[in-house]
Structures are given as structure tokens and as C-alpha cells.
């Protein structure tokens, strides 16, 4: 090659005939092109690999942003898990105590002067076919004191009731120390002390004999009771035998409260007839309640707290989602070069969009999975320490994972669209 071959050509002087040939060829080739150059294609496995690779390259940031989601999901799962576990514990308790206990009292309504039921109440109730057991307590109307030096008005809020040995059976009560009244002791000057009353009277155990000054007479403490779940009034009472009450305190035995165990299948029907059976003339003066309703109300009250905590969990999740969106938006700005390069090696806008969406979804579902595991662990540990059965509702597991995926999709959508719009020429410019 010698120097004369080097020529300077004005581009507008291009070989016209050569151009025309090229145009012809180009046209005839246009259809061949669409077949010849296969479209860009990214396998699904590669979409995931690319997404994971990008996250792995920014481990700390990925972990921190996933942590936001994890905390949100963990709080949702643990709130649902703990609420269900505690509710089930409460329902177990209710189930063990029985929901078939009815409490009959004299009404406090109009004309109900003396709060006592007719003396025949226990007997008549016992004749109702669906009634399984009855027990009654009778107000004795005296005070009980640790000793005879305590002023009379310092009763400590402790009532004295007379009762029969059947009370423990009817109420599913249990004894903490000593024994309950029996057929033998119901006529003796002995007392059984409720859980709260024992505390107020300073009775810790019965290792040494304890005596109380009850209605001007010393009585020996026979036993101390565990708290009654369905009859809290009796926790603040000292109980003596009904025969002893008649003998020593000259009490006329008109029941203050009658406890009635009813056939499980006929609770409402029985409840409807009890008032009329006890006092046919003034059934409206008989008040019947079902103590287990109270526990159920407590359970409902706890549920309303659950709602509050769920709301807080949702806020945590939202903040986590915003964290992911934030990290993704920053990523789009920082990774303009990478986006430009990917476009240069054949990525379509859709590929870029898919990659960023995949990253957001991966972050969020990673956070979601960790969150579910955290939530389950918290529930397990707390429920176990409380002695509850561990219950993780399916809705918490499925809902937690679904929520994280949805949050990821929403958080990733805008950054993904922005990434796809990045101009590759701007991103790749050398100067």
C-alpha cells in the first residue's frame, strides 16, 4: 500500500450507485432480519439469578432493608399468634370450668329490699330436670377478724357465708391448704378461707393451727381455697358450714346465691325457667347470670387490643416497604452504569424492569420469610413461658408472606419503571 491510496473523501460525495444497491439489499433483507436476529431473551432462572446476584453484591443494604419488612411481618405474625394462643388458653380455662354454671341471686331491682332468695330455692331448683347440681351460699351477716382485738369496723371487706359441702363440686373449686367442709365438719365451728381473704387475714399456710375471731367466737381454719374462676366473690369470703351457722349464729338460711350446674345442651332453656321456678310470684326479682360470659367478654376485650397491635404491625410493615422502595430508588440512581451496560449487551426495557422488580420482590419475601420465622419464635417462646398452647394461625403465615410479596411488588414498581427509563447513552457516556 503506498501513500497515494490514502484519500480524503467528503462524505456527501458518497458513491450514489453503491448506495442504491445497498437500499435494494436492505429492503429485500428486512423480512429476513426479523427471522435472522432472534429477539433478546432472558430465562426465568436468569431473572432470579441476576436479581439475587445484585442483592448479594450489596449485602448490608439488602439485609437492612429486608429487616424493615421482617420486623413488620414478625409483629403481625406474633400478634396473631399470641392472641390466638392466649385466647385458646382462656377458652381452655372456660372449657375446664364449664360454661354450664348459672348463678342465681336476688334481684337488686325495684322492690327487692332484702337481698335473699326464698328459703326453698335450692330444693325447687334441684327439681328441674336439666339441673345437674346445686349449691348455695347464705349470708351470715357477721364480721371476721384475725383476733378479738381488731376493731369491729375493720372487716377488711371480707364477707362471711354459710354453705354446704357440695359447693366445691358445683364450682369446680380446689383447695390450696387443708380441707373443705365435709358432712362431718359442716356443723362444727370451723371455717374455710377464700384465696383473697386468706391473704388479707395473713394466713399463708396451715402448718400451725390458725384461729379466726368470727362473729364473736373463735373458729379454727380448716382450709384455704384456690381462687374461684367463676365465683370471684367467694375469694373474698370466709365460709362456714350451714348447720354450724344455724347452731352458732342463729341464721335463717335464705340463699344469697345459688350456683346451678345445668345440662350443657339445655343451658338457655333452663335459664329461662329458673326464675319462675324459684319465685313464681315475682320472677323478675330473681337475677340469673352466667359467669363464663364474663371470661368470654374478657377474651373479646383482648381481641380489641389485638386489633390495635395489628394496626401497629401494619404501620411497621408499611415503613419496611418504604425502606425497600427507598433502597431501590437509590439503587437505580447508583446503578445507572450497570443499567446502561445491560442495555448495551441486549437487555430490553422490560428486562431491566423485571430485574428491579425481582430484586424488590426478593428483598421483601426474604424479609417476609425471616419475619414469619421471628414471629413464630416470639409466639413460641412467650406462649411457652405463659404455659399456653402454641397456636400459629395459618392466616398469619400465609397472610404474612403474601403481604410481604405485595409490599415488595408495590415498593419495586416505581423504581423498576424508573430503571427501565434510564437513558443508556447518558449512563454510559465516557466524559
Amino acid at each position: 500500500m503506498d501513500g497515494s491510496n490514502a484519500t480524503s473523501v467528503d462524505p456527501r460525495d458518497a458513491d450514489v450507485s453503491g448506495d442504491l444497491v445497498t437500499v435494494e439489499l436492505a429492503r429485500s433483507d428486512q423480512s429476513a432480519l426479523n427471522g435472522a436476529i432472534a429477539p433478546s431473551r432472558l430465562r426465568l432462572s436468569e431473572v432470579i439469578r441476576v436479581g439475587l446476584g445484585s442483592l448479594a453484591a450489596r449485602k448490608l443494604r439488602s439485609v437492612l432493608s429486608a429487616l424493615g419488612i421482617a420486623i413488620g411481618i414478625a409483629s403481625l405474625v406474633s400478634v396473631l399468634g399470641l392472641s390466638d394462643s392466649s385466647k385458646s388458653a382462656l377458652l381452655d380455662q372456660i372449657g375446664a370450668l364449664g360454661t354450664n354454671l348459672l348463678t342465681v341471686e336476688a334481684g337488686s331491682g325495684f322492690g327487692a329490699g332484702d337481698a335473699a332468695l326464698p328459703g326453698t330455692a335450692v330444693a325447687t331448683v334441684g327439681r328441674v330436670a336439666t339441673v345437674e347440681a346445686t349449691a348455695a351460699v347464705y349470708s351470715v351477716g357477721v364480721g371476721v377478724y384475725r383476733n378479738d382485738l381488731v376493731p369491729e369496723d375493720r372487716t377488711g371487706g371480707i364477707s362471711v357465708f354459710a354453705t354446704d359441702p357440695g359447693l366445691m363440686g358445683a364450682l369446680n373449686g380446689s383447695i390450696a391448704h387443708g380441707a373443705f367442709l365435709s358432712e362431718a365438719t359442716r356443723a362444727h365451728p370451723v371455717a374455710v378461707v377464700g384465696a383473697v381473704a386468706a391473704e388479707r387475714l395473713g394466713i399463708r399456710n396451715l402448718d400451725t393451727p390458725v384461729e379466726l375471731y368470727l362473729g364473736g367466737r373463735w373458729v379454727e381454719v380448716l382450709g384455704v381455697l384456690e381462687p374461684f374462676a367463676l365465683a370471684a366473690d367467694l375469694d373474698r369470703a370466709v365460709l362456714i358450714g350451714d348447720h354450724a351457722a344455724e347452731t352458732y349464729y342463729d341464721v335463717e338460711l335464705a340463699p344469697t346465691v345459688v350456683y346451678v350446674r345445668v345440662d350443657e345442651d339445655h343451658i338457655d332453656a333452663t335459664r329461662d325457667v329458673l326464675a319462675g321456678t324459684i319465685d313464681p310470684e315475682n320472677p323478675e326479682e330473681v337475677e340469673i347470670s352466667r359467669p363464663s360470659d364474663l371470661l368470654e367478654a374478657r377474651s373479646a376485650a383482648e381481641s380489641s387490643f389485638t386489633g390495635l397491635f395489628l394496626g401497629l404491625g401494619a404501620v411497621a410493615l408499611l415503613v419496611g416497604g418504604i425502606g425497600v422502595a427507598n433502597v431501590m430508588v437509590i439503587g437505580v440512581i447508583e446503578r445507572r452504569g450497570e443499567i446502561g451496560l445491560r442495555r448495551a449487551i441486549g437487555a430490553t426495557r422490560a428486562h431491566i424492569r423485571r430485574q428491579f422488580l425481582t430484586e424488590a420482590l426478593t428483598l421483601a419475601s426474604l424479609g417476609g420469610t425471616v419475619g414469619v420465622l421471628m414471629g413464630v419464635s416470639v409466639t413460641y417462646v412467650y406462649a411457652t413461658t405463659q404455659g399456653w398452647r402454641v397456636i400459629i394461625p395459618t392466616v398469619a403465615l400465609v397472610g404474612g408472606l403474601t403481604a410481604s410479596v405485595v409490599i415488595g411488588a408495590i415498593a419495586g414498581l416505581y423504581p423498576a419503571i424508573r430503571a427501565a427509563r434510564v437513558s443508556p447513552t447518558e449512563a454510559l457516556r465516557s466524559d
Binding site: 480524503s8 456527501r12 432480519l33 454510559l428
Partner: protein
């Protein structure tokens, strides 16, 4: 594809960027790059060299005029078709390398085939062969931060070669390299050219440009001079 057509042809191509005043990056440029040619695009910073290279590689679309790749008019093609042309027929090399951090050399090279739907093992096999070709057979499992500047650019060249493109477009490939590495990269390009590859190199380095058989001088978006050792395709 038409084997007889020029590798790249710009016909009266203009590129304007909106703004006040609007920037004319390319002004009615008509040029053909033939199969097997090695061409330098020379000009000052901001003269429109990079825009021309991006337009040649379908990364950017002209405001008017048409770009033909191997005889195929790209002006009316949608995004996915253009992406396919880039992914299969064009090999880009950039001043800033753009290797993905944290992944080994072999996968950075294999990424050149990522959007072609080739399986991972096939991509790695192809990457191995190309890395051997550019003399980095012993650097396959190194990460980008374990490579020298010259090696990094070699990896980027290998990535641009791995899908057997019709031509290579290099935008200031020696801009971030010391003189020894620059010389070694230019040797690589010359040796690829001697194997029959079509290569377009944007540079503002006169001595690099002077060593190339053909030089397109760009000034203010216009093709000022087309200097070459032989005429036509």
C-alpha cells in the same frame, strides 16, 4: 443480514437534544463502515463522537436520517428489536469498563451472552474460549477488583466478543489506562482486526488514531474529514 452490505451505514443522520438552545450532537452525517474495517472516530470532547458511536450501536436513535446495521434499516424498529441487534450483532467496549463488581471474570464475560437465552454452561464455555483469546485464561475466577486496569479492559473486550458480534464499538477504550496498558489494549484491537473483525474506536488520542487505517474526524457534530488508506467497501 446481508454479507455484502456495509457493517454499519449512517445516512444523513442528525441527532438533536432538546433544550435552550438545542444541542446538535450529530449534523447530517453520512458514512459507511465496511466489513473488516478498523476505524477511529476522532474529535474533541463534546464533538459528538460518543453520540455517533451510540447511534451506530442502536443505543441511541437519530432525530432524523437512518442507521443500517448489515443492511438492515433500524429506524423503525421497536425497543426489543434494537435490544436484540445489540445483544447479538454489536459488541460495546467502554472507557469505564462497567464490569459487575463481586462476580468473577468468567461470568462478567459470559454476561455478554446473557440476553440471548443461552444456557449458563454454554455461556461459560464461550467465555472461557474468549478469555483465552485475549490472554486472560489464568484470570477466569478473579473478581474485577483483583485485576489491573489493562486486564479489566481486556475482560470488557472479551465480553464484547463473546457473542461473535458483527462489529465492535469502543468508546475511549484507553481513556482510563496508563500508556503501557493502552498500548497493550490497542495491540489487542489490531490483532482482532487482523483476524477480520470490524472495529470502530472513539478516541481523542491523536497517536492512537494515527495508527488506525481509517479516521473519521468529527467537529461540532459534523463529519469533517474521512481519511482512509483504501477506498470503499
Amino acid at each position: 443480514m446481508n454479507p455484502a452490505a456495509p457493517a454499519i451505514e449512517l445516512r444523513d443522520v442528525s441527532k438533536r437534544y432538546a433544550g435552550s438552545p438545542p444541542v446538535i450532537a450529530l449534523d447530517r452525517v453520512t458514512v459507511q463502515i465496511c466489513q473488516g474495517e478498523m476505524v477511529a472516530v476522532v474529535g474533541q470532547s463534546g464533538s459528538g463522537k460518543s453520540t455517533m458511536l451510540h447511534v451506530m450501536g442502536t443505543l441511541d436513535q437519530p432525530t432524523s436520517g437512518s442507521v443500517l446495521i448489515e443492511g438492515i434499516d433500524t429506524s423503525a424498529l421497536p425497543d426489543d428489536r434494537l435490544a436484540a441487534i445489540r445483544g447479538r450483532r454489536v459488541g460495546f467496549v467502554f472507557q469505564r469498563f462497567f464490569l459487575l463488581p463481586g462476580i468473577p471474570t468468567i461470568d462478567n464475560v459470559a454476561n455478554g451472552l446473557l440476553y440471548t437465552g443461552t444456557s449458563r454452561s454454554e455461556r461459560r464455555t464461550a467465555a472461557e474460549a474468549v478469555l483465552d483469546r485475549v490472554g486472560l485464561g489464568d484470570r477466569m475466577w478473579h473478581r474485577p477488583n483483583e485485576l489491573s486496569g489493562g486486564e479489566t479492559q481486556r475482560v470488557a473486550v472479551a465480553r464484547a466478543l463473546v457473542h461473535r458480534p458483527a462489529f465492535i464499538l469502543a468508546d475511549e477504550p484507553t481513556g482510563n489506562l496508563d500508556s503501557a496498558s493502552s498500548a497493550s489494549i490497542m495491540d489487542l484491537f489490531h490483532s482482532l482486526h487482523s483476524e477480520g473483525r470490524t472495529i470502530v474506536i472513539v478516541t481523542h488520542n491523536e497517536s492512537i488514531a494515527a495508527a488506525l487505517p481509517r479516521r473519521l474526524h468529527i467537529l461540532d457534530g459534523r463529519l469533517e474529514r474521512d481519511v482512509r488508506g483504501s477506498s470503499g467497501c
